[in-house]
């Protein structure tokens, strides 16, 4: 099964953004550096997230990015849909209509799709951050405090 790197880096960057924006907007460059994500790649990701209204950019000398909503109201499902285009399992809809295809769709593919959406929609950015803290081992925090 394939996930794109956009989702992976997008979620990682949003966690970083959320943790570091307590004192104001965060620059894209600083996130790219901390998370070791190529800056122009992160620009593309943030451009999609901004258009979708999940983050907003603040202009000016102290400018940068902020989450549009608090982390506990930012749905991971929305982030993934924005970055992946959709959460559908197939690029194109299966065309065939044999019994086997019908049964696989009902039993397996639809169920997988539901499970994916259910889980992604049940998680917020804050859940990911809490989970990250629970793990304990994070040199990231040591750097910042």
């Amino acid at each position: 099964m394939k996930f794109s790197a956009r989702s992976r880096y997008g979620l990682r960057a949003l966690i970083d953004l959320s943790l570091n924006s307590l004192n104001g907007p965060v620059t894209l460059t600083s996130i790219a550096e901390r998370q070791d994500i190529p800056e122009n790649y992160l620009e593309q990701i943030f451009s999609s997230l901004r258009k979708a209204g999940l983050i907003r950019s603040i202009k000016g000398a102290q400018g940068g990015y902020q989450l549009s909503l608090p982390a506990e109201k930012t749905s991971v499902g929305d982030v993934l849909r924005t970055l992946e285009g959709s959460l559908d399992l197939f690029d194109e809809n299966p065309t065939g209509n044999s019994h086997i295809q019908q049964c696989l769709k009902g039993l397996l593919w639809d169920r997988m799709n539901r499970a994916l959406e259910e889980y992604a929609d049940s998680q917020t950015l804050q859940d990911l951050i809490d989970d990250f803290y629970r793990r304990g081992t994070n040199d990231f925090l040591m750097y910042d405090i």
Partner: protein
């Protein structure tokens, strides 16, 4: 998250074999024809399925493929992972990215949703659907 054609067609081909085999070997040519896939492609898929033990090849004039285990013992999730690799890519789970917990949770949730599904469920579903009138093509020799 995307499923490739290999995963989709591989499961269709395996279900087709199971549905038509009834213990007798089925030729790849027949599976390819019924699934509208090329024989070369089906062969690639069956190599993977054979290595993973889901099908066995029987040599000889009446040779072909049979299931490698009873259909109720073949988990769809296992077949899918044999064809596609793990539900969530391994490097997503092994990295030290701060979002790693999400991928672990997702893999766990999806495995749970699919854990009890076997090939027998697909066969049962197929048997429950009304038999279609054979198309005219079926009579062409």
């Amino acid at each position: 998250m995307k499923i490739s054609t290999k995963g989709r067609y591989g499961l269709e081909a395996l279900a087709d074999l199971a549905f038509h085999s009834e213990g007798e070997p089925v030729s790849l040519r027949e599976v390819a024809r019924r699934c509208s896939l090329s024989q070369t492609y089906i062969l690639q898929i069956f190599l993977i399925l054979r290595r993973a033990g889901f099908v066995k090849s029987i040599r000889g004039v009446q040779g072909g493929y049979v299931l490698g285990a009873p259909p109720e013992g073949i988990l769809l999730l296992d077949v899918l992972e044999a064809l596609e690799g793990p539900l969530v890519p391994e490097d997503f789970l092994s990295g030290d990215g701060q979002e790693r917990g999400f991928w672990e949770g997702l893999a766990c949730h999806m495995k749970e949703a699919l854990s009890s599904l076997t090939l027998e469920d697909v066969l049962e579903c197929c048997r429950s659907l009304p038999v279609r009138e054979p198309g005219r093509m079926d009579f062409v020799i």
